[in-house]
């Protein structure tokens, strides 16, 4: 078997024949972790990842013009956006990456690239700041990307009625709403399982 995978294989021979069979089977997957600042995205990624969360940078170019004030650094026309990410080896061939995505709407151009081919998204919600995740719910719903809404159970959010949260966030029927402790790997794994089950149901 040659190591040609997916519909990118035609675009320039990135993938080479002759690699070892074990390597030829390798397949990456990704799940996005969205949510507002400080909601616990990196904590959740860290609780699941087999490596300490890493950070990757992406340069933001012309789309930032008129938004970012670069006057203080006149020679700089690009801004760098960083994303924390982690890795879960699923089996001998599947490697899952979790990307914590910048929350602000001005970074949506990055989400488009990230959302392409993603299993789906976990939208992490802090009930004390619920407004910060409206944009993410809208985004993934409009793009047809499967998602689950995960309530990070901070102190002071006990006893909140799930149906009230669904109403407030306009979570579509059928979209799972789960509770997580972003520090706890078992709890976060359960959220991922809900997402993948939902993605499978959507794919049916």
């Amino acid at each position: 078997m040659v190591s040609v995978h997916g519909d990118h294989a035609a675009d320039g021979g990135l993938v080479r024949a002759g690699a070892k069979a074990a390597q030829a089977e390798l397949l990456p997957l990704k799940i996005l972790v969205a949510g507002g600042f400080g909601v616990g995205k990196t904590t959740l990624v860290g609780a699941l990842s087999e490596i300490p969360p890493l950070s990757t940078e992406q340069e933001m170019t012309s789309l930032s013009e008129g938004i970012d004030d670069t006057s203080a650094v006149p020679d700089k026309t690009t801004t760098t956006v960083a994303m924390d990410f982690g890795r879960v080896t699923v089996d001998d061939a599947l490697v899952l990456y979790l990307f914590g995505t910048p929350g602000q709407s001005r970074f949506w151009f990055m989400w488009d690239e990230l959302a392409r081919g993603a299993v789906g998204a976990v939208i992490l919600v802090d009930l004390r700041r619920i407004d910060e995740c409206f944009a993410a719910v809208d985004y993934f719903e409009n793009r047809g990307v499967p998602f689950v809404v995960a309530l990070n159970d901070f102190p002071g959010t006990e006893g909140v009625d799930d149906d009230a949260v669904r109403d407030a966030l306009a979570v579509p029927p059928g979209c799972p709403l789960v509770h997580v402790d972003a520090r706890d790997g078992t709890s976060c794994t359960a959220a991922l399982i809900s997402l993948v089950e939902h993605a499978l149901a959507e794919a049916a």
Binding site: S3, H5, G6, D7, H8, D11, G12, G13, L14, V15, R16, A19, Q23, A24, L26, L27, P28, L29, K30, G36, F37, G38, T42, L54, S55, T56, E57, Q58, E59, V73, K76, T79, T80, V81, A82, M83, F85, R87, V90, D91, L94, V95, Y97, P102, Q104, F107, E113, L114, R116, G117, A118, V119, T189, L192, I193, V196, E197, A199, L200, A203
Partner: protein
């Protein structure tokens, strides 16, 4: 800038060598412009053989890729933006020094059903 938009006041990210020096001024690769962030790379035998004679950043990529590494991890390893990592990886792949393993997606652009099922099995076994 960090994850949630806090400004990075270092400006150049604290790098001594500017990013364009790694890529001879190119910001796009002829082949790898669409290589997704989760694409996995592994060093080939030819890459491992050639590594000692390659520039340090190329050598570092090949040495790290004796086990599968994503484009994101290569970027983090070298402390360069994703676009720079993409150019370097594409060049090494073009020279057959790296094998690139791309995601398997269906016509709808989503991962194939059998992959989702394997992922589910793997997560449930954790």
């Amino acid at each position: 800038m960090s994850v949630d938009g806090r400004e990075d006041t270092r400006g150049d990210g604290g790098r001594v060598v500017p990013n364009y020096a790694f890529t001879a001024g190119r910001t796009r690769s002829a082949r790898g412009a669409d290589m997704p962030i989760e694409a996995l790379v592994t060093a080939t035998e030819s890459g491992l053989a050639a590594a000692p004679g390659l520039p340090p950043e190329s050598r570092a990529i090949i040495e790290a890729s004796t086990g599968p590494q994503s484009l994101a991890e290569i970027g983090a390893l070298l402390e360069v933006p994703l676009g720079v990592a993409r150019v370097l990886v594409s060049d090494l792949a073009a020279d057959d020094h790296l094998a690139v393993h791309l995601p398997l997606v269906g016509t709808d652009g989503r991962p194939r059903r059998e992959l989702l099922e394997r992922l589910l099995d793997g997560l449930r076994a954790r």
